[in-house]
């Protein structure tokens, strides 16, 4: 028992040190460092914001409608007299929660299916991939709207829906990465040994496509954030009065000419998070040695 414990902790240690080396490699580039800081800032803010927000995000006040930024209300107030600083701080929580879980879902189901398709190969793979292509042709925003309208919005619907749709391009990536690995002799060796298909996927293929999946996941995450904010912007994402950047931008649209400070904070917050994720994804790809810029065929 003691020995197994030892090897376990040994493994965790190596996993931790790998994480450490990858993170330090990412941070060694200025762009990667900026990206990591932005993402870390947003995540930290999402966690602690309810405790440190200066006002209640629901608090209305007829006296301070569309006030300019002041020492009391740093970012000013909106058309209902709510503190914009508070609402911007809290506005990313729902989006981050929903998209993070959806990304993990998308990577897991898309990754597993993609690896399986890559392993099976042949006509079945060919047929299923055409099905994937068909799904990719659908204009996602229309499909999302259709689902939200028929089933209703809220995280319970959005998480699986986003996870499903954003998993489809992951299938493609995972399959392509698997094709590179599956022709190698160690997979043949495992087959010749008589390993089961699930063992081959788990032990031989997944560890070798994990890098690609991680980078793909980071990219999908930023796309998903945009999608979620778009839904909120259209009024199908978050139900008011819960603050959300997409919703805030949508509300602020009408007063853009008289009160530009209402729209600016959520725009900056959303953009900085997405830029941060994209920079981190690029740095991650470079740190893992799967640089898209170098590998891109066109």
């Amino acid at each position: 028992m003691a020995t197994t414990n030892n090897t376990d902790s040994g493994k965790r240690k190596t996993a931790f040190s790998t994480l450490q080396t990858v993170l330090s490699a990412m941070a060694s580039r200025p762009s990667g460092l900026v990206g990591l800081i932005l993402v870390a800032f947003h995540i930290a803010l999402a966690i602690v914001s309810p405790a440190i927000a200066p006002y209640d995000f629901r608090e209305l006040s007829a006296q301070i409608i569309l006030n300019e930024p002041s020492s009391e209300h740093w970012f000013g107030t909106d058309n209902l007299g709510r503190d914009i600083f508070t609402r911007t701080m809290l506005g990313g929580r729902q989006a981050l929660l929903v998209t993070t879980i959806s990304t993990i879902l998308a990577i897991i189901w898309g990754g597993l299916l993609g690896v399986l398709f890559g392993l099976v190969g042949g006509r079945l793979d060919e047929f299923l991939m055409r099905l994937v292509d068909a799904f990719l042709c659908l204009p996602w925003i229309l499909v999302l709207l259709l689902i939200v309208v028929t089933v209703g919005s809220g995280p319970v619907v959005l998480i699986p829906t986003l996870g499903f749709f954003y998993g489809i391009p992951v299938i493609r990536m995972a399959r392509a990465a698997t094709h590179d690995v599956v022709a190698l002799d160690f997979v043949t060796a495992a087959r010749a040994r008589g390993e089961t298909r699930s063992t081959i996927v788990r032990r031989e293929l997944l560890p070798n496509v994990l890098d690609v999946l991680l980078v793909e996941g980071a990219m999908r995450w930023s796309w998903m954030l945009l999608a979620f904010s778009s839904l909120s912007f259209l009024g199908f994402g978050v139900t008011p009065p819960t603050p959300d950047w997409g919703l805030m931008i949508s509300d602020a649209r009408s007063f853009m000419s008289i009160a530009p400070w209402v729209a600016l904070p959520p725009v900056i917050a959303l953009s900085s998070l997405i830029i941060g994720i994209n920079l981190s994804a690029d740095a991650l790809a470079k740190a893992l040695g799967i640089d898209r810029a170098q590998k891109a065929p066109v």
Binding site: F186, T188, A190, A192, R193, R203, P207
Partner: protein, 680 residues
């Protein structure tokens, strides 16, 4: 003394490590190459031979820099030249032929255009003349029908033809010096022999000086006037080829020569212990001291300098006078096989045909066989318990296909494969019982590909142990350590990843993984062809030892007849998926043999300056349409007429257990082969 074209003076090249320490890759290199001279650079991988060759054209891989000395080309230091001047001499006066020509040709551009481009770059010929020149170059490298070749794409050529095109491109600028970086590694023996003959002829025809880099002393012996043996970034021996190959004055050169398997005798070659030191790891003494059979305290304390010997050589050894007195190392004993009995067979293949082409949907529905010639056909083989059978042939001969069929990865289309006289091996791997799976194990050619790069050695070895024996915990670890001991690796290797092992160590782990299953039958697929000669000898040694200890049966696939000679009790020769010859190895390596075996034997390169390869047949011919009669009829040097083209040759018994498949009556064949042996 003639004026030298390339003059390397006390060159040192190195890089700065992460710990900010400067580590040398090359040290104190002095070399002069005169006009028309061919120099062979030889050594194990990582000894700096390619770095030196590339440095002669002023090219350093990123991160490397010159630490001291210089390299002159026609009196000018290449490291001082500006970009323009370097571009002028590179490709023009100094041309490089890389190892993998297939990769150096642009896949989307026609052969004619690619060669034309280098002609345009290095000459001032007009357009029409350039076309003439391209055709001239193609015929210079002995490519048939150059006119037609102009419009072909690289993928339409064989590996040997691609290498010839690369040589033609290098010759376009009429270079004074050709740098050849392992130009024949990875090619078939016959193709390799042809390319080497071509290079030899070119050297005499054009008077081009050559620098030939290779780990293979056999290839070097064929082309070089002088040989420089490199070890850990230094020259340890330099001298006339004949002298170096016949009486090597350095223990390392001697070890390299001894590790090459020879056709003449059926012994496992001896290997050198240990590994070359990492860059900067040589210490203050002789870099070879740890592996040398005659090390003394002086070797560890003081680094020897290159000093001239009485035989026009330069040698870097304190005790070089004593090298020829060293006793011959003992080669491992092969198990006694005098009592082999076909009745006690472990594997039997009867009339086996294997096909890669999958039946189309229409064929599947109508349940009929597609009308294509199988990749492998009419294979009858009986493999006795405890023996080693060698399957020999060029690439495309179907040897690996047969192994895949036995392993159940590609079930045969027809015929039967029987294991241990009872169990059918026609089933695919998924339908085999666990015990049968365990009994038959496969070892692959390239350990880089056959070991999962994400698994530690412990995890790699655990896979078969868990699968077949359900081991876990301490028991699993103990068994893994025992397995590593068997392949002579220390227990601390368990925690390493494949990327932290050398090529030879990786292949040992692959062998250990196969033996973890305690197999009865091990299928070895070109297990040594991706390795250096010295490492190859060690792996051959290991396989022999394991066979002695466990009585395992081997099916050993290789394109190298000399390697098969070292290990196999019986040999089967394959051409285009058909058996040509089958018999005890001492008979196969002797006349009369099938004309194809004769061609293969003639092409084997031995590190003997007096041996001359016999190139009896073309190295590449069209394979379509498939042969109706003898599969070898298009290339056969002893072709006797229509009967060869149209009728399948019969098996002719030539001795106990030995038969060849040829139309020529045995007496006549023996006579022919005797005559050509005496004329050579």
């Amino acid at each position: 003394m003639r004026e030298s074209l390339v003059q390397v003076n006390n060159l040192g090249i190195g890089f700065t490590s992460r710990a900010k320490v400067t580590l040398p890759i090359l040290r104190n290199i002095d070399l002069a190459i005169g006009e028309g001279e061919t120099i062979g650079l030889v050594g194990e991988s990582g000894c700096g031979k390619s770095t030196l060759a590339l440095a002669m054209m002023g090219y350093l891989k990123s991160g490397l820099r010159v630490l001291e000395g210089d390299s002159l080309f026609r009196g000018r230091n290449v490291f001082d030249m500006d970009k323009r001047a370097l571009e002028d001499i590179r490709g023009g006066e100094l041309a490089l032929i890389p190892q993998n020509a297939g990769q150096s040709l642009t896949p989307t551009s026609r052969i004619g255009r690619q060669i034309n481009e280098s002609v345009k770059l290095h000459t001032r010929l007009a357009k029409e003349q350039r076309r003439e020149r391209v055709i001239e170059l193609l015929s210079q490298v002995r490519l048939p029908q150059p006119q037609e070749l102009l419009n072909r794409y690289p993928h339409e050529l064989s590996g040997g033809q691609q290498q010839r095109v690369a040589i033609a491109m290098a010759l376009a600028g009429e270079p004074d010096v050709l740098l050849l970086d392992e130009p024949t590694t990875g090619l078939d023996v016959t193709t390799q022999a042809h390319i080497l003959e071509l290079l030899r002829d070119l050297a005499t025809e054009t008077g081009t000086a050559m620098v030939y880099v290779s780990h293979d002393l056999g290839a070097i012996a064929r082309v070089s006037d002088r040989i420089a043996v490199m070890y850990a970034g230094e020259f340890v021996l330099e001298g006339p080829a004949h002298q170096v190959l016949k009486w090597p004055a350095h223990p390392y050169a001697r070890g390299l020569l001894l590790s090459i398997p020879r056709l003449k005798e059926a012994v496992v070659p001896t290997s050198m212990p240990g590994l070359p030191p990492p860059p900067g790891g040589a210490g203050q003494g002789c870099a070879f001291a740890d592996r040398c059979p005659m090390t003394e305290q002086l070797c560890r304390d003081k680094r020897p300098a290159l000093e001239p010997t009485a035989m026009q050589e330069l040698v870097c050894c304190h005790f070089h006078e004593r090298v020829d007195q060293l006793p011959l190392p003992e080669s491992p004993k092969r198990p006694d096989r005098s009592n082999l009995d076909e009745l006690n067979n472990i594997l039997r293949l009867e009339n086996v045909a294997i096909n890669y082409a999958k039946p189309s949907i229409v064929d599947q529905i109508l349940n009929r066989q597609p009308d294509v010639t199988p990749t492998v056909d009419k294979i009858d083989l009986t493999i006795c318990r405890g023996e080693t059978i060698g399957l020999v042939g060029e690439s495309g001969s179907g040897k690996s296909t047969i192994l895949r069929a036995i392993a159940g990865l590609l079930p045969p289309q027809s015929g039967t494969i029987t294991y241990d006289k009872a169990e059918s091996l026609n089933t695919p791997v998924g339908e085999r019982g666990k015990d049968l799976l365990r009994s038959v194990q496969l070892i692959f050619q390239n350990p880089d590909a056959s070991l999962n790069p994400r698994h530690t050695v412990a995890e790699l070895l655990a896979q078969p142990l868990k699968l077949y024996f359900g081991l876990g915990g301490d028991e699993l670890r103990e068994r893994s350590v025992t397995l590593l001991e068997r392949v002579r690796l220390r227990a601390d290797y368990l925690e390493r990843l494949p990327s932290q092992l050398s090529g030879g160590e990786k292949q040992r782990v692959a062998v250990a993984r196969a033996f973890a299953a305690e197999p009865e039958l091990v299928l070895c697929d070109e297990v040594t062809s991706a390795l250096d000669v010295s490492v190859q000898a060690a792996v051959l040694h290991l396989l022999t030892q394991l066979q002695v200890d466990h009585g395992t049966t081997y099916v050993f696939v290789s394109h190298d007849l000399a390697v098969v000679r070292a290990l196999a009790d019986r040999v089967a020769v394959l051409y285009q998926g058909r058996l040509c010859e089958m018999g005890p190895s001492e008979n196969v390596y002797r006349s009369p043999s099938h004309p194809y075996t004769e061609v293969l034997l003639g092409a084997v390169l031995e590190p003997d300056p007096d041996a001359e390869p016999v190139l009896a047949a073309e190295d590449a011919v069209d394979l379509f349409p498939p042969a109706k009669g003898c599969p070898f009829y298009r290339r056969c040097p002893r072709h006797i007429g229509d009967i060869c083209d149209n009728e399948t040759p019969p098996w002719q018994p030539t001795g106990p257990g030995h038969a060849i498949r040829c139309h020529i009556p045995l007496g006549e064949l023996l006579n022919m082969q005797y005559q050509s042996a005496t004329t050579n």
